[in-house]
């Protein structure tokens, strides 16, 4: 499948006024507003007091491990579940107990949920038929939508005659053709293989930019969320832990869970001493870019790619923190080598780029691990 990059795509796009991006004021309006929303199933708090404002026109991802409540949150926006407590509004309209067919949103389901007894074009036309649009208008919009997802020519096929990627795009067209105010996507790429998934990520982001519809995207894949999102909300055990742009979530996580879930990291327990210095549990004093109140029990997160290794007697830049250790493990990854460095009672994971001239180290060698002062980020102990 071709990822749409050429100018021909833009021309195609201009031929589809019904789906063309509206010129709208700067992103300010709130598309979806969740106010203190909770959902209990029997004794389980699936969603626990979530406050969230998703802006008009943004690509927002709900990210978290399975069972964290992200899908339940999405289903509550769609009207497939109703909150036990709290309120959900879409463009200022409170949804209350309004059923899914009365909401200005459409969903792309994880399993696609294409109607197996209908052709591709009947599937895409379904929502428009339910809203009793004019027959010719329906035909035109279905054609436009199928062109948008590059499925022109497959109108008369049944879903089971399509590949996974094509089914995925039918599901997308079936939702987008209704011009929803908000498009909800529940792990829509989960069933695709890696190559196709990566291509679709770019295509989805591209599509979202063009149609200008607010996307709420549920995923457990942090790379996917980082690739596509304007902002990300990280969830765990029903709670919304942190909301921010991808850089914020990755560079300045506010909790150990977020730090660990987004990318790879070293999490080291530490305490803040009376003089403001930070002492790792091993007794090592380190610097970090955020100060915390003395006596606080904290965690320090160190990304493996921000750590460097030199020989035990080697030198490193001024202002860097350093720990002595021994190379315990070495894993060759092709474009990089990851090391496990045993330092006191912790093992630090270090990622070293496999570049020409880059020094590599053997297992058992005594080394120093060093990092810039601002590479370490303090998070509260969860």
């Amino acid at each position: 499948m071709a990822v749409c990059v050429s100018s021909t795509c833009d021309r195609d796009w201009n031929d589809q006024p019904a789906l063309r991006k509206q010129i709208r004021p700067a992103m300010s309006a709130t598309a979806v507003d969740l106010s203190d929303v909770s959902k209990r199933f029997d004794d389980v708090n699936a969603v626990d007091h979530v406050d969230l404002a998703i802006r008009d026109g943004e690509f927002f991802s709900l990210l978290g491990p399975s069972g964290c409540g992200k899908t339940t949150t999405l289903r509550m926006i769609a009207g497939l579940e109703f909150p036990t407590e709290g309120r959900i509004s879409i463009f200022g309209d409170e949804m209350g107990l309004r059923p899914p067919n009365m909401r200005p949103v459409n969903t792309v389901f994880q399993s696609y949920a294409l109607f197996p007894h209908m052709t591709v074009s009947d599937n895409v036309a379904f929502g428009l038929q339910m809203r009793r649009l004019d027959r010719r208008e329906i035909r035109r919009r279905v054609g436009d939508a199928l062109e948008l997802v590059q499925l022109t020519g497959r109108e008369r096929r049944r879903p089971n005659q399509l590949s996974g990627g094509q089914q995925q795009r039918v599901a997308l067209a079936r939702a987008l053709v209704n011009e929803p105010k908000v498009l909800l996507l529940d792990e829509p790429l989960g069933a695709l293989d890696l190559k196709l998934r990566q291509a679709m990520q770019l295509e989805l982001k591209d599509l979202q930019t063009r149609v200008g519809i607010t996307f709420v995207y549920v995923t457990h894949d942090q790379e996917e969320a980082l690739t596509m999102s304007d902002r990300i909300g990280v969830m765990d055990a029903g709670r919304l832990l942190q909301v921010g742009v991808p850089e914020e979530i990755y560079e300045r996580p506010t909790s150990p869970m977020v730090a660990e879930f987004i990318g790879d990291t070293n999490l080291l327990p530490a305490t803040v001493k009376a003089d403001g210095q930070i002492e790792l549990v091993g007794g090592q004093i380190v610097g970090a870019d955020i100060t915390a109140s003395p006596g606080a029990e904290i965690m320090v997160t160190l990304r493996p790619e921000r750590l460097h290794i030199v020989d035990a007697d080697g030198s490193f830049p001024d202002g860097h923190n350093a720990i002595d250790g021994t190379v315990a493990r070495r894993v060759y990854l092709g474009n990089a080598v990851t090391y496990g460095i045993l330092a006191g009672n912790v093992t630090l994971r270090v990622r070293v780029r496999n570049a020409p001239g880059q020094r590599q180290f053997d297992v058992g060698r005594r080394v120093q691990v060093h990092w810039a002062g601002d590479a370490a980020v303090l998070v509260e102990r969860g």
Partner: protein, 279 residues
């Protein structure tokens, strides 16, 4: 291995034994049917001895008003009980698969009872039930309720509901529930969701259940003979009565006609489903 695809082909002795077994089983199934059909064209009044070809027995059958009346009764009962049982059985299957309500488990278990209870038991209890109801009706309104086509039809409905419900439920259980959510998400109301998505999805199950009900109704002897009254004999009950008075090739002719009719029915349903395309 010489087999194609990924299936493991049995070889040597095992292969020959399996083939022999298959032939034996099919022989056991179809040899009696072939004998039955062949002897329906036998000129001899004695069923077992072949004398020559004739169509006399079919002519006799067509001229026999008792046979024709029995055929008519059978068709009326089968059609009526199939329609009622299919509607009620499908409704029962839907409620058990789609809703959570008080007493659902008990209802579920009780639904299987007519399948498990022996025909004779079912026949006796239905007969007693109809007699009691008839008495009560007579006391209350003075109306006479007699055993006949109505009671036969009601009895067939009673056992067919369970079979239809079981078949339809199996189909519903295999259906992706998110399809209905997707329909609702695409602005379909409850009725539209049912008509446009749920019903087409479960149609093969409903047709299968209806076909089963039709066959069971056309076949039934035990229950029917208990709850039938004078002048309301169905074809299988009539044939059963004939056999007691001695087997003639007339019975073979009637049985062959029944066989052809039911095979035509099955063929029609297969063709119908094929034309609708794979679901």
């Amino acid at each position: 291995m010489t087999g194609t695809g990924s299936t493991v082909q049995p070889r040597g002795l095992a292969r020959r034994l399996l083939a022999a077994n298959a032939w034996l089983v099919y022989g056991f199934f179809y040899a009696p049917i072939l004998v039955l059909i062949a002897l329906s064209f036998n000129e001899n009044r004695l069923v077992g001895v072949w004398r020559g070809f004739t169509l006399d027995w079919y002519a006799q059958m067509a001229a026999n008003t008792a046979v024709l009346r029995a055929v008519r009764s059978s068709l009326i009962v089968a059609a009526a009980s199939t329609v009622v049982a299919t509607v009620l059985g499908t409704a029962a299957a839907l409620s058990l698969e789609r809703f959570r309500f008080r007493g659902r488990r008990a209802f579920d278990a009780l639904l299987y009872l007519p399948v498990i209870v022996p025909d004779v038991t079912m026949a006796v209890m239905l007969l007693l039930f109809f007699v009691r109801v008839a008495d009560a009706m007579f006391v209350v309104s003075g109306a006479q309720v007699r055993l006949g086509l109505t009671t036969i039809t009601l009895s067939h409905v009673a056992f067919n509901i369970s079979f239809v419900a079981i078949v339809v439920r199996a189909r519903l259980a295999g259906m992706d529930p998110t399809l209905e959510e997707a329909a609702a998400d695409l602005y379909a109301g409850r009725w539209q969701t049912f008509r446009r998505v749920t019903l087409p999805q479960m149609t093969p199950g409903v047709l299968g259940g209806a076909l089963l009900a039709l066959t069971l109704s056309l076949d039934d002897v035990v229950i029917t003979s208990f709850v039938s009254g004078p002048g309301s004999t169905t074809l299988p009950v009539y044939v059963f009565g004939l056999v007691r008075r001695g087997v003639t090739p007339l019975i073979n002719a009637v049985s062959t006609a029944m066989l052809v009719a039911s095979m035509a029915l099955v063929l029609a349903s297969v063709l119908l489903q094929r034309r609708r395309g794979p679901a």
